[in-house]
Amino acid sequence: MRTGRFVRFALLAGFAFLWLPILLLVAYAFSADRIPFQWGGFSLRWFAALAANERLVEAALLSLRVAAGAATLAVLLGGAAGWVLVRFGPFRGRAAFGALIGAPLVLPEVVTGLSLLLLFVALEGLTGWPAGRGATTVLLAHATLGAAFVAVVVQARLAGSDRSLEEAAMDLGATPLVAFRTVTLPLVAPALAAGWLLAFTLSLDDVVIASFVSGPAGTTLPMALFSMLRLGLTPEVNALGAVVVLGVAAIFGLATLLLRPRGDGGPG
C-alpha cells in the first residue's frame, strides 16, 4: 500500500515530538549560558560542573550498582519463573504463580512502592531486618519489578522453541544438567540478556518506587535528579542528558553493528 501524505506527515510530526526535546536537551548542554536552553556560545563547562557534582556522581554510582544487582537477581528469578510457567505443565497454584509474577507489570508505581515500603517496615518490626532502608531495599524492590519483565521475555522465547531439542539431547545420553547447559541455556541466553538489560534500565529509570523504599543513605540518581528538577532546572541536567543520550546511542549503534544478521535474513 502506498504511504499517503497524511501518514507521512504524521510520522514526521510524531518523531519530531519524540525527538525534539531530547535533541535540544543535548544541544544546549554545550551552551555556556547559565540559563538552561539559552545559547551563550560553545562551552564544556557544564560537563565539568557535572563531574564535580559529588552528590550526583555518588548517586549515579549507587544507581549503577543497584541496577546491576537488581537486574542479575531479576534474571535468576524471572528466568526461573518463565521456565516454570512454560515447561512445567500444569502444577498446583499455577494461575496464582502467574498472577503474582506478572502483578508488578500492571500495578501503578505508587501502589508497588507503597506496598513494598510497608512490607519492609513490617518486616523490620517483626524480625529486625532490614535495619533501616537504603540501597538494599531498593535493589530488592527493583529485582521484583524486573523479574516480571524477564519472565515475560523468557516465556516468549521458550514458547517459540521446541522442547524436543532437550529431549533429543537426553535420549542421546546427555544428563539433564548437560542438556540444560548445552541446549537450553544457549536457547534462552538472548532472552536472558535482553531481560537483564531491560531490568537494568527499569532500575536506572525508576524514581517513584525508589523514593518509597529508600532511606537517607540510599539516594539513587533518579531521586537526586528529581529533587534537582523540583528546585529548578540547571544546565547540569543538560550535561547529564548529553552523557546519557550519547552513551545510549553509542551502545545502540555498537549492538546493531555486532548483531547485524549476516545475510541469512533474520526475523524482520
Binding site: 500500500m1 504511504t3 499517503g4 501518514v7 510520522l11 510524531g14 518523531f15 515530538f17 519524540l18 525527538w19 526535546p21 531530547i22 535540544l24 536537551l25 538552561p36 536552553f37 539559552q38 528469578l77 526461573a80 519463573a81 521456565w83 516454570v84 512445567f88 502444577f91 497454584g93 504463580f97 503474582l100 502483578a103 500492571v106 500495578l107 501503578p108 508505581e109 505508587v110 507503597l114 506496598s115 513494598l116 510497608l118 512490607l119 517496615v121 513490617a122 530488592l140 521484583t144 529509570d205 524514581v207 517513584v208 533518579p222 535528579l225 528529581f226 528538577l229 532546572l233 541536567v237 543538560n238 547529564l240 542528558g241 546519557v244 543520550v245 545510549v248 545502540f252 546493531t256 524482520g268
Partner: protein, 275 residues
C-alpha cells in the same frame, strides 16, 4: 525434586515480595491512624476508607486521574495510529531504523525527558526565549505548570508503548484488504474507518490500556509539570503518606485505585492472551 528446587525459591520470593505487601496494604488501609511510630494501630476500623468517602477531595482526585489518564491514552492513540501505519508500511530495513528511533527515547531516561520539557516550557525556557527574541511577546507565556504541559509530558512518556501493539497488528493485517477498498473507490479516511480500524480494534484497545493503566497512577509528571490544582490520585497518595503521614488513608487510596483499575487490567490481559 528438580521441580521443587526451582519452584520453592520462586514461590518464596513472590509470596514475600508480591503477595505479602498486598495483604499488608489492605491491613493498614483498615487500620486506625495513630500518632505513634509507625503511625497506625492495627484494627478493623475502616477509618481510612471512611475518610475517602467523607471528603470529596479524594473522590475528585480519583476521577481527575482517570480523566487525565484517558485523555493521555486517547492523545497517544491518535498520534500512534498513523505512526504505526507509517512504520508498518516502510521497507524492512527502514522499518528497523524507525522502530529504533521510536524506542531510543525510552532508553534515554524518563526524568531527563521531563527535564527537557521543563527546559522548553519554563518562563525562561526555549520557547519563550524564541518568541521573545522574535519580538512576538513581551512577557513570557505561562506554558509550564498547565494541564497542557502535563499532557504533553505524559504523551511523550507513553507514546512508544501505544505504537508497538498497533504496529504489530498492522503488520499482520493483509494489505490487499485496504488496497481492494481503495481500488473500489474508497478514500483513505474511509479505508481507515471501514477496513483498518475494525481489523485492528483489539490492538487499539490494548494500546489504549497500555497507556491508561500506568498513567492513572502517575505521580512524577503531574508533580513536576502540572498545575498545582492537578491533584491526581498518585500525587494525593504521595502527600498523604509523606507529608500528612496518614498511612491508613494512603493505603486505602492504593486499594481503591487498584480496584478501579482491576477491570482495565483484566481486559488488557485477555487481549494479550489472544494470538
Amino acid at each position: 525434586m528438580r521441580r521443587a528446587l526451582l519452584l520453592a525459591p520462586a514461590w518464596a520470593w513472590l509470596l514475600l515480595f508480591v503477595a505479602a505487601p498486598a495483604g499488608i496494604v489492605l491491613a493498614i488501609a483498615l487500620a486506625e491512624a495513630d500518632p505513634g511510630l509507625p503511625p497506625f494501630r492495627l484494627a478493623l476500623s475502616g477509618a481510612g476508607f471512611a475518610t475517602l468517602l467523607e471528603d470529596s477531595y479524594y473522590l475528585d482526585a480519583l476521577l481527575r486521574a482517570l480523566r487525565v489518564a484517558a485523555m493521555t491514552a486517547l492523545l497517544s492513540l491518535s498520534l500512534a495510529y498513523p505512526m504505526a501505519m507509517g512504520i508498518a508500511r516502510a521497507a524492512p530495513r527502514r522499518r528497523m531504523l524507525l522502530l529504533a528511533a521510536l524506542m531510543l527515547p525510552f532508553w534515554t531516561g524518563f526524568l531527563l525527558r521531563v527535564g527537557a520539557w521543563i527546559g522548553l516550557l519554563r518562563d525562561e525556557g526555549w520557547i519563550n526565549g524564541l518568541l521573545r527574541g522574535a519580538g512576538l511577546i513581551e512577557a513570557p507565556l505561562p506554558l509550564l505548570y498547565t494541564e497542557g504541559a502535563m499532557l504533553a509530558g505524559m504523551v511523550h512518556a507513553y507514546l512508544p508503548f501505544a505504537v508497538l501493539p498497533l504496529f504489530a497488528a498492522l503488520l499482520r493485517l493483509d494489505p490487499t484488504l485496504a488496497e481492494a477498498a481503495a481500488d473500489l473507490g474508497a478514500r483513505p479516511p474511509t479505508v481507515f474507518l471501514t477496513v483498518t480500524l475494525p481489523a485492528t480494534a483489539p490492538a487499539a484497545v490494548a494500546a489504549f490500556l497500555l497507556v491508561f493503566i500506568p498513567a492513572a497512577g502517575e505521580y512524577v509528571i503531574p508533580e513536576l509539570m502540572g498545575p498545582p490544582e492537578a491533584q491526581l490520585v498518585g500525587r494525593v497518595l504521595w502527600q498523604e503518606f509523606f507529608q500528612n503521614r496518614d498511612w491508613p488513608v494512603a493505603a486505602a487510596l492504593a486499594v481503591v485505585l487498584l480496584v478501579l483499575l482491576l477491570a482495565p487490567i483484566r481486559l488488557f490481559q485477555r487481549l494479550e492472551a489472544q494470538p
